[in-house]
């Protein structure tokens, strides 16, 4: 396969994906239905929707952290489980999920330790990643010595150490204050531009989705499905001027209206959120 063909092929492809969760008492609940979505190489795509629309579930399906009830998920032209085993993606969660007992550089090194890479190459890669997220001076610090934003940058560096084709981010800046969040948004865009990676980004925030994305996938709840895909044609590189431009506000409005059209939130949203949580916790045993 030539490089051209590689870039034409969708990097993530979901077809007829459905996800049901089994509830106690034998009932099932449909979290996602009729999901068809192709992501092009190098795209920045946000998934946005009311809580309980299954956007996190969709992200976890792409990462093979949960499996679809029906339909197919392919990543890099392979079934999602194979892509996971091939380490084709890096994952960033809402919490940084750093290991407390490891210093910053040891946390970033963790994925490489699992591959048994040669030490010198490994250390060089870790240093490179810390440069990328602008934390080289904090290599020897422990996570508790860093601010929330810095911890999340370490998590991003760690997710990128394998040079994966895809970066999956699940509300990564949801716990940060507005100022830090905007700074992290610019940071992520810079990293995306430097690495050419494909990003799938789950968020609650309309401004964040518009500022970052090439496309915003708008979802609705009960059951979770894609209602609209909004192309964001704001010029790049994007910065402070972008956030203050007229076109930006138009895009924000467009996404907001798409969301309003799809909004039918109800009690089941909370239910799905709790089912998703329970499922994640089931992984412990």
């Amino acid at each position: 396969m030539t490089a051209d063909q590689m870039s034409d092929q969708p990097v993530v492809s979901l077809a007829g994906v459905e996800k049901d969760f089994a509830l106690s008492g034998g009932a099932t609940m449909t979290a996602l239905t009729g999901i068809d979505l192709d992501l092009r190489r190098g795209e920045f795509v946000s998934l946005i929707g009311p809580s309980g629309c299954g956007k996190s579930t969709l992200l976890r399906l792409i990462g093979d952290l949960t499996q679809p009830t029906a339909g197919s998920v392919s990543v890099n032209g392979k079934p999602a489980p194979q892509a996971r085993l091939d380490r084709d993606y890096g994952m960033v969660f809402q919490a940084p999920v750093l290991f407390d007992w490891r210093t910053v550089e040891e946390n970033v090194r963790l994925p490489l330790e699992l591959t048994g890479q040669e030490r010198r190459a490994r250390d060089a890669r870790v240093a490179e990643m810390l440069e990328l997220v602008e934390l080289p001076d904090f290599a020897r610090h422990y996570p508790y010595q860093l601010s929330g934003g810095m911890q999340q940058r370490v998590a991003i560096a760690r997710a990128l150490t394998f040079s994966p084709a895809i970066l999956l981010m699940d509300e990564p800046f949801g716990a940060l204050d507005e100022m830090t969040r905007e700074r992290m948004n610019s940071e992520v865009l810079r990293i995306w531009e430097q690495t050419g990676i494909t990003v799938v980004f789950v968020t609650h925030s309309i401004p964040e989705a518009v500022f970052l994305s090439s496309r915003v996938v708008v979802m609705s709840a009960r059951p979770g499905r894609i209602t609209q895909i909004v192309d964001i044609d704001l010029p790049r590189p994007r910065g402070l001027e972008t956030r203050e431009s007229r076109h930006y506000f138009e895009m924000v409005t467009k996404v907001r209206e798409a969301l309003r059209g799809s909004e039918e939130s109800g009690a089941s949203d909370e239910l799905l959120a709790s089912v998703e949580r329970a499922e994640a916790e089931g992984l412990i045993g």
Partner: protein
């Protein structure tokens, strides 16, 4: 110097307490068999350090028994915790049994242990110590191995990490502070096991024997001296675990203190 200033209040209270004790005994003429004065305890300790009751060699023997019991109990606790964490079905068998066994006052088995392992042997005391130490280590390590966050496990899965890698990179480091907590509890218990084991016969030179024999001859200053030495041994063992914590888990909230970034 800073260390001295930091600990000054504790030192003042300790020394003041001893002085008050001494003054009370002298002032109220309390008889030695009820509560001896610190000065007479110190004198008894000096007189019986290597001669008489031989407190120093006795302390060495007791430390050996408690230390051996601590190590044996910790190893056993670790093995069972790893096995139970690995095979969740074993949890339903081992845990109820463990809890039931833990409810038995194990020191009551001391005379039996003497019977099984020989009353003159150090192993009978180590067995009692080990039995006491086992449970807190096992429960703590098991909790440490299993109480990893769901997202940490997902993170490892996203790196295609196998069960072994999850154990080595995530569960074991997560369990280390729990193990050290179990070990701290274990130091005290191991000493209790050894001393109580000695009450029921054993080596002639051991702190438990010193307590029993001095009390039976109404030499209570010596009894008190032995108790003081038991306490010192216990504190020393505890401090050893604390020192290990500083080296092994400098990142843990219990250790890192006020260190700033």
């Amino acid at each position: 110097m800073a260390l001295l200033r930091h600990n000054a209040p504790a030192i003042v209270v300790f020394v003041g307490g001893i002085a008050l004790w001494e003054a009370t005994i002298r002032g109220l003429s309390i008889r030695a068999f009820i509560l001896p004065a610190p000065s007479s305890i110190a004198r008894a300790l000096g007189e019986n350090w290597t001669a008489g009751y031989q407190i120093l060699p006795a302390a060495q023997a007791t430390l050996q028994e408690a230390g051996g019991g601590l190590i044996a109990g910790a190893l056993l606790g670790l093995v069972v915790a790893f096995a139970v964490a690995r095979y969740p079905s074993a949890r339903d068998i081992v845990l109820p049994m463990g809890i039931a066994v833990n409810a038995i006052p194990i020191v009551a088995f001391a005379p039996l242990a003497n019977q099984w392992f020989g009353s003159q042997s150090v192993y009978s005391k180590m067995a009692i110590s080990a039995a006491l130490v086992f449970f807190p280590i096992m429960i703590n390590v098991l909790r440490g191995l299993t109480s990893v966050s769901a997202s940490s496990v997902e993170l490892m899965r996203s790196y295609a990490a196998g069960e072994m890698a999850v154990l080595v990179k995530l569960r074991v480091p997560n369990a280390l502070p729990f193990f050290l907590t179990g070990l701290k509890i274990g130091t005290t218990l191991s000493l209790i096991g050894a001393v109580v084991g000695e009450y029921f016969g054993g080596l002639n030179v051991a702190l438990g024997r010193v307590v029993v024999e001095s009390a039976s001859t109404l030499s209570f200053e010596v009894t008190w001296a032995a108790i003081v030495v038991v306490s010192v041994v216990g504190i020393a063992m505890y401090l050893a675990v604390l020192a290990a914590e500083r080296v092994l888990i400098p990142w843990h909230p219990s250790v890192r203190g006020e260190r700033v970034a």
